[in-house]
């Protein structure tokens, strides 16, 4: 499947963990301002693929990446590519929320600060706006200076989302962002994703097929390091063409 102006375009991507060939000749276009989900069994490489988008494998000695990942047409694995500015364009939500060891306020202000924003009023405004974006403002507005670690885990995950949004990314990467959350918090995060896709391209790794159906426009099924099938959500989940996909989504009828 191809798109006219894909936001991320992966071309002939191979990734090795030492001798293990973890991603095999991946080619996929991530559409602009849509939610794309990667589904597949544990260990199939979906998180690995997600992390190649913001070069989070850079610090691992064993990982070798070949091929191209084009972000707005520019290869992020190019020798001259500046990794911090690439990462700035993508907010990451991990499986468990990891607030930075600082106050709620500082967590949000951290990103803008490292990118040079010093003005207090502007920072105040950024913090308020993004906490409102994730519907956390009413819950924390009176204790912005208290440690982020005191929030509930669902609140922490929304804080992490707000923290990511505060650096004005274009893309949100979610690595099973609801797997540690209770159903209510999960629902809130999902609602946020649907809201946010107006402004952002969202890539989501999930093992919950219902979640993929609820929030995503496109779904890619990954198995054993390969993309087996990539199609609009309903089509892939209800009428998969590939045999492997059929087997995986078999139990999923709703």
């Amino acid at each position: 499947m191809t798109f006219e102006t894909p936001h991320i375009s992966v071309q002939n991507l191979n990734l090795y963990y030492g001798a293990n060939h973890a991603l095999k000749n991946i080619n996929i276009d991530i559409p602009n301002k849509k939610v794309t989900s990667f589904i597949g069994p544990s260990g199939c490489g979906k998180t690995t693929l997600l992390k190649t988008f913001n070069r989070l494998h850079d610090s691992s000695l064993e990982v070798r990446v070949e091929g191209k990942v084009l972000l707005d047409g520019e290869n992020i694995y190019d020798k001259n590519a500046e990794v911090t500015s690439i990462r700035k364009k993508m907010g990451l939500l991990s499986q468990r929320p990891f607030p930075l060891p600082m106050s709620i306020y500082d967590n949000i202000a951290y990103g803008p600060r490292i990118h040079g924003e010093r003005d207090r009023h502007k920072l105040d405004e950024i913090v308020e706006r993004h906490l409102k974006d994730v519907a956390l403002w009413p819950e924390v507005k009176d204790r912005l200076k208290s440690p982020a670690s005191r929030l509930s885990i669902g609140q922490q995950q929304r804080l992490c989302l707000a923290r990511g949004l505060a650096v004005n990314p274009e893309i949100i990467l979610g690595d099973e962002p609801t797997s540690a959350l209770d159903p209510k918090s999960t629902q809130k995060i999902e609602e946020l994703f649907i809201e946010l896709k107006e402004k952002y391209t969202i890539v989501l790794v999930t093992h919950i097929l219902r979640q993929a159906r609820r929030v995503s426009d496109y779904v890619a099924y990954i198995y054993n390091g390969e993309i087996i099938e990539f199609a609009p959500t309903e089509e892939l989940l209800l009428n998969p063409k590939q045999k492997l996909t059929q087997e995986y989504v078999k139990g999923f009828v709703s």
Binding site: G91, Q95, P101
Partner: protein
């Protein structure tokens, strides 16, 4: 389990008990506030202020110096080298070996170095030698603490577009209590060590006034007094040991209080 507890707690109280029971009667204001007179070690007048200050100067100076050197080393091997790189592992192995090295070796090394540089036994010599002695303790302790930081915390900072230096600062915030522990361990080792300062800091009955003056230390004062034939001087040795114990205890307690405050934001 009970047996082990009894042995550990028992021996602790036995040591402290001995020091207190023998040292407390000999402890006096004079002991703490005066420098030794000429025949102090034969039972004469005076106190151990020179040794108290000498020890504090050396331990504090070397802890500070070692901290300034250790933090960048630890940051480098954890943040700038790739995970399980041979250089990082070699560094760790090296510090493990240095960790186990007897302090007399550092003393001899420091002494040789000072002769080579034409320095006399001095406070500076003692500080530098003790710094070398405690760097391995600091580096290895901090290294272990930083390695317990979840990878996701690094990723969280990196994915906001932070550089490694900026991420280091976040990581240091997270491990601040651990760093304090490392400094405390190193300080304790530094203040209690004799062999490394015996040749390098020298010995003096006066309070060191500059980095070039020789300085006495508490452990050395204990040693010198304990080897005196006069009984009164021997009990003063216990008083000096008591002072040393109290200093270490006070540092421990304040470190704990500070550590609580520092872990406020820890995730």
């Amino acid at each position: 389990m009970v047996f082990a507890t009894v042995i550990i707690v028992g021996s602790f109280f036995l040591i402290v008990g001995t020091i207190v029971s023998k040292g407390f009667p000999a402890l006096s204001w004079e002991m703490l506030s005066e420098i030794p007179s000429g025949d102090f070690y034969m039972g004469g007048e005076g106190g151990i202020l020179n040794s108290i200050l000498g020890s504090l100067y050396i331990a504090a100076g070397s802890s500070l110096l070692a901290l300034i050197i250790s933090v960048p080393i630890v940051i480098y091997i954890n943040m700038y080298l790739k995970k399980s790189s041979w250089m990082g592992n070699l560094t760790r192995l090296g510090y493990d070996v240095l960790f186990g090295m007897p302090s007399i070796v550092y003393g001899a090394f420091g002494f040789t170095l000072m002769i080579y540089l034409g320095m006399r036994a001095s406070l500076l010599g003692g500080i530098v030698t003790v710094t070398l002695l405690i760097i391995p303790i600091m580096v290895r302790t901090m290294d272990e603490v930083i390695r317990t930081v979840p990878k996701e915390l690094f990723d969280a900072s990196y994915s906001l577009g932070a550089t490694r230096l900026e991420t280091s600062r976040v990581v240091l915030k997270q491990v601040a209590p651990g760093i304090l522990t490392a400094v405390l361990l190193a300080f304790g080792r530094g203040i209690g060590d004799v062999a490394s300062v015996m040749f390098t800091a020298g010995f003096s009955n006066d309070i060191p006034k500059s980095l070039e003056d020789p300085a006495s230390t508490l452990p050395l004062a204990v040693f010198n007094q304990l080897s005196s034939p006069v009984e009164e001087v021997q009990s003063r040795a216990y008083a000096a040991a008591l002072v040393l114990t109290i200093i270490v205890l006070l540092i421990s307690i304040s470190a704990r209080v500070l550590s609580k405050r520092l872990s406020k934001n820890k995730i």
